[in-house]
Amino acid sequence: DVKVTQSSRYLVKRTGEKVFLECVQDMDHENMFWYRQDPGLGLRLIYFSYDVKMKEKGDIPEGYSVSREKKERFSLILESASTNQTSMYLCASSLTGLSGRGFGPGTRLTVL
């Protein structure tokens, strides 16, 4: 099974701070994804990447950027954190676009 790890389980930041969320997968998967999960809204795609240095906007990219310098690592960056970015952030990877996603445990981010 794919193992996806995320750098922090819980994070508290202040409004305006720059926030980095790191994600690493160990299965040599081409595709990596960042989602945010909010009650009643399901999972919403922020960004995804299908190859090193390649990225595509998801459904809610505003206020976020990403970096994929190595195949196994996909970082989500909040350039200037705001309170409406308080959420659970989930990283995932998959072998192909059609494959099931292997998710990390999530980072619960609180922006004060």
Binding site: V4, R9, N31, Y35, G40, L41, G42, L43, R44, L45, F48, Y50, G58, D59, L90, A92, S94, T96, G97, L98, S99, G100, R101, G102, F103, G104, P105, G106
Partner: protein, 115 residues
């Protein structure tokens, strides 16, 4: 934008009961996935269905993909407390045979099975 509507949003039942969760859309999906998520963890893939009318069984769980590939259902027989969790369906966008790999998730069904 494809939308997936899950129903019910909440389900609270006693151990041993049967239940069905529905996932509906007006859009066609090339495949549909079901996930289960426990508190504090990421979703875990249960099954992927790809053929219209397909039925897959996973122990006490039965998954069905609609003939028109617009809907799916998850049926649990004789539910157990260990089945408690958030169940999510997710559809893969259909674009003339090309998938962009952008899953659309339903809002989830929170299932609680009481001993």
């Amino acid at each position: 934008t494809q939308l997936l509507e899950q129903s019910p949003q909440f389900l609270s039942i006693q151990e041993g009961e049967n239940l069905t969760v529905y996932c509906n859309s007006s859009s066609v999906f090339s495949s549909l996935q079901w996930y289960r998520q426990e508190p504090g963890e990421g979703p875990v893939l249960l099954v992927t269905v790809v053929t219209g009318g397909e039925v897959k069984k996973l122990k006490r769980l039965t998954f069905q993909f609609g003939d028109a590939r617009k809907d799916s259902s998850l049926h649990i027989t004789a539910a157990q407390p260990g089945d408690t969790g958030l169940y999510l369906c997710a559809g893969d966008a259909w674009a003339g045979g090309t998938s962009y790999g952008k899953l659309t998730f339903g809002q989830g069904t929170i299932l609680t099975v009481h001993p």
